[in-house]
């Protein structure tokens, strides 16, 4: 099963999947566990020479993340403390983007409802279309588009003045 094809797939989607998993899970290690579980599960289900369905891959990671979240429910208090004290490590270091603005975007995203947040993450950073997002979340395409639109409007209001003009 050591198919080199999965390496290219992993390079293309791993960071996006990790960011998506972090919308539920408070720490990076748990999010990586969710990515691992979802990626392996979907890739094993593929026939030789076949590539996985992208919305299915995100849905599998989402399912793994929710399962991990349930299993960590008893440690919720500790995880809340982790979330409160976590460093803003959602984004890669980029000299063209201010770290302050990156942190501001993350803080604003964290204040959005999870439905709007995951729609925005899938649309903006995963590059999925609204039909693909609808397949991932199991909803209606128009509903997903409306969530994304409302979420972006709310995000714009939550961002500090200097961050609205340009990242």
């Amino acid at each position: 099963m050591d198919d080199p094809a999965w390496h290219a797939w992993y390079d293309r989607h791993a960071a996006r999947l990790l960011l998506y998993a972090r919308q539920w899970l408070p720490d990076r290690a748990s999010a990586e566990d969710a990515v691992q579980g979802g990626f392996v599960k979907v890739w094993r289900g593929c026939r030789p020479g076949e590539t996985p369905d992208v919305p299915l891959l995100y849905a599998a990671v989402r399912s793994e993340a929710l399962d991990l979240l349930k299993s960590h429910a008893r440690r919720r208090a500790r995880e809340d403390r982790v979330v409160a004290g976590s460093s803003h490590d959602w984004w890669a270091d980029d000299p063209l983007v201010s770290q302050e603005r990156a942190a501001a975007v993350q803080r604003a995203l964290e204040q959005l409802p999870i439905e709007q947040r995951e729609a925005i993450v899938l649309r903006v950073w995963s590059g999925l279309s609204f039909p693909e997002i609808a397949r991932t979340l199991g909803g209606n395409e128009n509903t997903v588009a409306a969530r994304c639109r409302r979420g972006l409007a709310a995000l714009e209001k939550l961002l500090p003045e200097g961050c609205r003009e340009s990242l």
């Binding site: 099963m1 999965w6 390496h7 791993a14 960071a15 990586e32 890669a92 983007v97 639109r149």
Partner: protein, 215 residues
């Protein structure tokens, strides 16, 4: 939908797309190198998922027969330790009245002497003196003498089964008016095989006379 609303939605969509492009300039952080290695290990060995996850998760490792044998050994030891005090505990004597089918003969019997059951009532001694009865008896002889009371008219043969009915402690009595002894009675139901195939049931009374010293 009128033209005004349509234009407004188009403007909102354009603004959203512009914001999406701005936000997309942020690139998600890459996962750790270990994640790729873990996925590779999982894809190579189908069962290695549990192995690699067990190293990080708090779930216990699979247990084998050695673990089971050790647990059973500890369980057996615990059961034995719990049963020993129960087995060493003396059997309590019944405090209530005796069964109806056994007339309790309140009589002192001589040591090592068989007393027919019907002849006991006339040999009842006087009550124990109160001064002595109040004293705490101390058992000095631990070899009780069993006095078998054979019911009359029954052939001497071995019973095939015995059923304990009741115990009785008559307290300290004076044998022959001199020797203090504790009298304990035990009623047993004996079962004998009958000649015509019908089993015979016969009650038996054992009297234990334990000499004691009073102080």
């Amino acid at each position: 939908m009128n033209r005004f609303e349509h234009d407004r939605e188009e403007q909102e969509a354009e603004a959203a797309e512009g914001m999406i492009l701005d936000l997309a300039r942020l690139r998600p952080a890459a996962p750790s190198v270990a994640l790729r290695e873990r996925i590779a290990a999982d894809l190579v060995a189908p069962l290695s998922r549990e192995t690699t996850s067990a190293a990080r998760s708090p779930t216990p490792a699979p247990r084998g027969l050695g673990w089971l044998a050790e647990r059973m050994l500890w369980a057996a030891g615990g059961a034995i330790a719990a049963a020993v005090p129960l087995l060493l505990q003396p059997r309590p004597l019944p405090a209530g009245p005796l069964p109806a089918d056994t007339n309790r003969p309140a009589v002192a019997v001589d040591q090592a002497e068989a007393v027919p059951r019907g002849a006991q009532s006339s040999d009842m001694p006087a009550a124990v003196p109160s001064a002595i009865a109040a004293a705490e008896p101390q058992v000095i002889a631990v070899e009780p003498q069993v006095v078998a009371v054979e019911p009359q008219g029954v052939a001497a043969q071995e019973p095939i089964a015995e059923e304990s009915l009741a115990w009785s402690d008559d307290g300290v009595q004076f044998i022959d008016g001199q020797i203090p002894a504790r009298v304990i009675r035990h009623w047993v139901l004996e079962r004998f095989p009958g000649a015509d195939g019908v089993g015979l049931v016969r009650p038996r009374e054992d009297v234990f006379v334990v000499p004691v010293a009073l102080r």
